[in-house]
């Protein structure tokens, strides 16, 4: 469940970095190379999509989809609140969180 949340957070963070304003806050330049923009968008949508099966895995087909909608909200809120105060931390957290929670989920299964 935390893994699904982390995936959604990372997905939103990637989509957000593909926007000029937020790219500027994190990398210092509002100009995004077109290839990087495309890559960020692809990664973002893929991660958001990947959080769906992760939700279904933890809650099943009946409750999983409803939980996914709520989880997207819960993932986006901390990102939005963190961005104006600490944009680099908000973005840096994105690749770390899925790895940590993924490992924790694996460890719990073993």
């Amino acid at each position: 469940m935390l893994f699904a949340l982390a995936l959604a957070y990372a997905g939103f963070a990637a989509l957000c970095l593909a926007m000029e304003r937020h790219h500027g806050e994190v990398f210092g330049s509002r100009r995004i190379p077109p290839k990087r923009r495309l890559a960020l968008r692809l990664i973002g949508w893929t991660l958001l999509a990947a959080s769906f099966p992760a939700c279904v895995a933890s809650w099943g087909w009946v409750i999983g989809p409803a939980a996914w909608c709520g989880l997207l909200t819960a993932a986006a809120l901390p990102l939005v609140l963190l961005l104006p105060y600490a944009p680099r931390i908000a973005a840096g957290f994105a690749p770390v969180a899925p790895i940590l929670t993924g490992l924790a989920a694996l460890a719990a299964r073993i």
Binding site: I63, A66, A67, T73, A76
Partner: protein, 519 residues
């Protein structure tokens, strides 16, 4: 009226939201709290905290009911769950005070548990959909009316906010009016599926009251015929007069669980207990299904033979069941309800930021000379947005502090709630606006932080004990109260630090950012 579709929708959004904003705030807040209704009810009855679940609870309770109430038409039993380790039994009894008996039972011994008089979490629940102390029908009509305004405000808000995707992640703090606008938009957009879902499904839960015309036409005004067709409420057969013992219950629970692919029984209804014509109806737990239309199975009460099963399969009925289920959020585990709770808080904050945004904008336009209408909105804002949390905290404190044997104790708890709210509503009349906000927010913060302390002083199930025992149901309520206290305190600090009025160029900036809303 105005020029252009977006302008007229901005106008509609402003007024449909503002006019009923304070009712909506109260409904959102009490509804959000009601996601944890069973937990709060348990927390408010410390006398029951010793109860522990028992896998054979059904057997123990049926044996006890056989002893206590052998000759009644039926028994209704709610089995204990992880959130609520106490079993509840209900049966008709003409000699009882209200014509029925409702008791709480220890799942290990079957003994009746008596607790202090309290409305518990049911108070917030009843306030949420019928405004508690109002005549219920009036309360429900008012709430449906306000929910309709909410739906209109959401739809017109979506139209007004044309930069939904461009501003998806944008929050600019410490910028006066623009921060309020950003905050309002973010709370609305991030939880938009939730807001639409909760408002529409809320209307659907009360539709039999507010939109009965389809039933009138199709069933010639016969509500009972409709109820029988939709809810499958079947009358049990007559008693035979021949005594016969009940069949053991545990094998039936296993059989039902097998039919539901592992689903658990949540409720048992025994009709004609002790008679040869007895039947046993088992219904699946709410927490396992999205829909509230129940899956049930009926057995013969003496032989245990399978009689019939009901699987909700009619599409419209199932849609209604799912809408209802989504609204009351009894499905899923604690994590799902925590997500719903978070979304509910965002909805509450969305309504609050909306009404505050209106007041901030009026101040900026009129400067220090605020018009009476704007002043009224400011007073209502403080009295509701800061005042209602104070009343909630007072309700929790009253539960612990009022004498346990006070007559009409449950009513007094509710009175404390309304007295506190009344004082909070009058207080901003006497104070300057900013001071009123600060004083009420700090009061709320202190009261919320005080609840776990008072709990520790008056009961044995305080955080020190519940955390060590891993009792997350009770510890969760205390922790949530602490979080609320910290949040209110943080808000009070922000209000105290922010500058009295935004400078004019910032106001102009805000207006440029959203021309449609700046009127």
């Amino acid at each position: 009226m105005k020029h252009g579709f977006r302008q007229s929708m901005a106008w509609l959004h402003t007024w449909s939201g503002l006019l009923v904003g304070w009712v909506l705030f109260a409904v959102f807040l009490t509804g959000t709290v009601s996601y944890f209704r069973p937990e709060i009810s348990l927390w408010m009855r410390p006398e029951l905290h010793g109860a522990a679940p028992n896998p054979r609870a059904a057997e123990v309770i049926l044996a006890e009911l056989q002893r206590r109430a052998p000759d009644v038409p039926s028994w209704n039993i709610q089995l204990p769950t992880a959130h609520n380790p106490v079993a509840t039994a209900f049966w008709r009894d003409r000699t009882a005070e209200r014509g029925f008996r409702l008791i709480q039972m220890d799942p290990r011994t079957g003994g009746e548990l008596s607790a202090r008089g309290t409305a518990g979490g049911d108070f917030f629940y009843a306030f949420h959909f019928q405004l508690y102390s109002m005549p219920p029908l009036w309360g429900r009509w008012i709430i449906s009316f306000c929910a309709m305004f909410m739906l209109v405000a959401i739809v017109s808000g979506i139209v007004t906010h044309r930069r939904i995707f461009a501003d998806f992640f944008t929050f600019r703090p410490r910028k006066g009016q623009r921060s309020w606008l950003d905050g309002h938009a973010i709370l609305a957009v991030l939880a938009l599926p939730y807001h639409l879902m909760i408002t529409y499904t809320g209307l659907v839960t009360l539709m039999i009251l507010t939109m009965p015309w389809a039933i009138m036409t199709n069933f010639d005004g016969q509500r009972q015929a409709f109820n029988a067709a939709v809810f499958g409420i079947e009358q049990p057969g007559p008693r035979s007069g021949q005594a016969a013992p009940l069949t053991p219950i545990m094998p039936l629970l296993d059989e039902a669980s097998r039919r539901w692919q592992g689903g658990q029984v949540g409720r048992i209804t025994v009709s004609n207990p002790g008679d040869a014509n007895a039947t046993i109806l088992l219904a699946q737990r709410d927490s396992e299904r999205l829909s509230v239309s129940r899956r049930t199975v009926i057995f013969d009460g003496t032989t245990g033979a399978f009689q019939s099963a009901r699987e909700p399969d009619a599409p419209a009925d199932e849609t209604r069941g799912v809408m209802y289920g989504l609204h009351i959020g009894r499905f899923g585990d604690g994590a799902v309800r925590a997500l719903l709770f978070l979304c509910g808080l965002m909805g509450t904050a969305m309504v609050a930021t909306g009404t505050i945004l209106w007041a901030v904008k009026q101040r900026q336009k009129a400067g220090a000379l605020s018009r009476p209408g704007a002043r009224l909105v400011e007073i209502l804002n403080v009295g509701t947005i800061a005042g209602l949390p104070i009343a909630v905290a007072v309700f929790f404190l009253a539960n612990r502090l009022l004498p346990v044997d006070l007559p009409q104790r449950a009513e007094w708890e509710v009175r404390c709630f309304f007295i506190a709210w009344g004082i909070a509503a009058l207080h901003p009349l006497l104070r300057r606006h900013r001071r009123a906000w600060q004083e009420q927010l700090w009061t709320g913060a202190v009261l919320f932080l005080a609840v776990p302390l008072v709990n520790a002083a008056t009961t044995h199930s305080h955080l020190g004990a519940t955390l060590r025992a891993g009792n997350w149901v009770l510890a969760g309520v205390d922790l949530m109260l602490l979080v609320f206290g910290v949040l209110l305190g943080a808000t009070a600090r922000i209000v105290g630090r922010s500058r009295p009025a935004a400078t004019p160029n910032r106001a102009a900036e805000g207006r440029r950012a959203m021309p449609a809303l700046a009127e």
